[in-house]
């Protein structure tokens, strides 16, 4: 038995496009998830008790079920309720919603970490709600929110591999296809495992860098 990585590497064009697709889905999906999560957390903070309670249900359902089942439900079940999506938009949507549930909790914890006195002081000074969010809440919670957000981004990167199961041509699918064609499946999987690993480590390094940059916002008591 011998392993031959050359047959895989000779298909580098397809591999590169698969990697590009993974990075695209990951970046867009994570940004959308963070944005939706932020909006949900904000709605829970300012929307009153009913909105707050009502939003916990979808969050808990999404956090309590496997991403794979959500993905299948959306992609295969969607057309039955008039939601016919191609693989890529379905994958992006599923990834964004899944991530949003976790980001909503991250931002909720962030909001709670800001001392109420700071918000009250801003209110007394006549800050509008938008100004309070932008100038008081966001900067003060940034440091607390960064580590779990980076962690979530890494989890989402690994979840993008599941999009291969609904035929999004990202790197797991591309590598599986090449691996089967060339009878070099193991080599193909080892190769993309290494690519994922590098991307994950890279995200971790970037996260620690951002944390360092933001440490000037550290609260005195922390």
């Amino acid at each position: 038995m011998g392993f031959d990585f050359n047959v895989i590497l000779s298909k580098q064009d397809a591999l590169v496009s698969g990697i590009a697709m993974t990075v695209f889905v990951w970046v867009v999906g994570t940004l959308a998830a963070a944005l939706i999560g932020f909006i949900v957390a904000t709605a829970r903070r300012y929307g009153g008790v009913i909105v707050d309670k009502a939003l916990t249900v979808p969050i808990e359902v999404i956090r309590g079920t496997p991403f794979l089942v959500q993905l299948f439900l959306l992609y295969f079940g969607g057309p039955y309720i008039g939601l016919s999506l191609d693989a890529l938009p379905a994958g992006l949507l599923a990834l964004s919603i899944y991530g949003a549930a976790y980001f909503a909790e991250i931002f909720r914890a962030g909001y709670q970490s800001v001392p109420p006195g700071h918000v009250e002081a801003a209110e007394c000074l006549g800050f509008t709600r938008i100004q309070i969010i932008r100038n008081i809440l966001l900067p003060e919670m940034a440091l607390l929110v960064i580590p779990p957000s980076v962690n979530m981004a890494i989890i989402l990167l690994k979840e993008t591999a599941l999009l291969s199961l609904i035929t999004v041509p990202e790197m797991t699918m591309t590598a599986s296809a090449i691996g089967s064609q060339e009878y070099a499946f193991v080599e193909a999987m080892v190769l993309i495992a290494l690519v994922y690993w590098v991307l994950v480590e890279l995200a971790g390094v970037l996260g620690r860098f951002a944390e360092k940059k933001l440490s000037r916002y550290r609260l005195a008591k922390a």
């Binding site: 309720i81 690994k158 993008t160 599941l162 999987m189």
Partner: protein
């Protein structure tokens, strides 16, 4: 959707529970061994543990499972898909649990370890009788959390051909063309299992004594 279909899903969920439970337990044992390697002070063992934890936390479980599933026949190992699934899940969760335990081991009060040394415990005895029980108690919440993650991650072993909840749902969808009802029901079953685990975990957490005021 008929009760008959729902019952098939319920039966398949037993496989999900079985695979997840066995994997969590094997993963826990492996994680304790990895922690022992980390604390051993022997460089090559530490490197191995570090590499193992980083690799399996840094790559998607799906890729790990596909790799394992295709690698075993190539190197001449023929085992049922149930065993492949358990091996894949155990190795992956071991890496995550080892990382959780690291925090637990750091939280073991030095005084207790020193007392054990004074009392003539060998390092191995200290590890298993003092460090491990305390670290496990300290990381119990993380362990419960990991159990829920593995229950959800076990949906991926459907790709290695094991008929668990997700695979059963896929099969039923293929024969009935009712993806909406069937995947929603599967999701509901996962949700209920996870709620039970989370509630049981909180109860256990409350009943067990704490460690040194923590």
């Amino acid at each position: 959707m008929s009760w008959k279909l729902f019952n098939l899903l319920l039966e398949a969920s037993l496989m999900t529970i079985f695979v997840s439970t066995v994997s969590i337990l094997i993963g826990l044992v492996l994680a304790i061994l990895l922690s022992a390697a980390n604390l051993s002070g022997i460089r090559p063992l530490q490197w191995f543990a570090k590499f193992f934890i980083s690799f399996f936390r840094g790559t998607p479980l799906l890729v790990q499972l596909l790799l394992l599933y295709n690698l075993l026949p190539v190197i001449g190992v023929q085992i049922p898909s149930l065993v492949t699934a358990i091996i894949g899940l155990s190795i992956c969760t071991a890496a995550y649990q080892a990382e959780n335990l690291r925090g637990g081991f750091e939280g073991v009060p030095t005084g207790l370890v020193e007392s054990a040394d004074m009392a003539g415990f060998t390092p191995v005895q200290t590890f298993f009788h003092i460090r491990v029980p305390i670290a496990l108690r300290l990381t119990l919440p993380a362990l419960i959390n990991e159990a829920i993650l593995i229950l959800k991650a076990s949906s991926l072993v459907s790709v290695v051909g094991l008929i668990e909840l997700t695979r059963m749902a896929q099969n039923l969808v293929a024969s009935t063309f009712m993806p909406l009802e069937i995947y929603a029901s599967a999701g509901l079953i996962y949700l209920v299992i996870n709620l039970v685990v989370a509630t049981a975990g909180r109860q256990l957490e409350r009943r067990l004594p704490g460690v040194g005021g923590k």
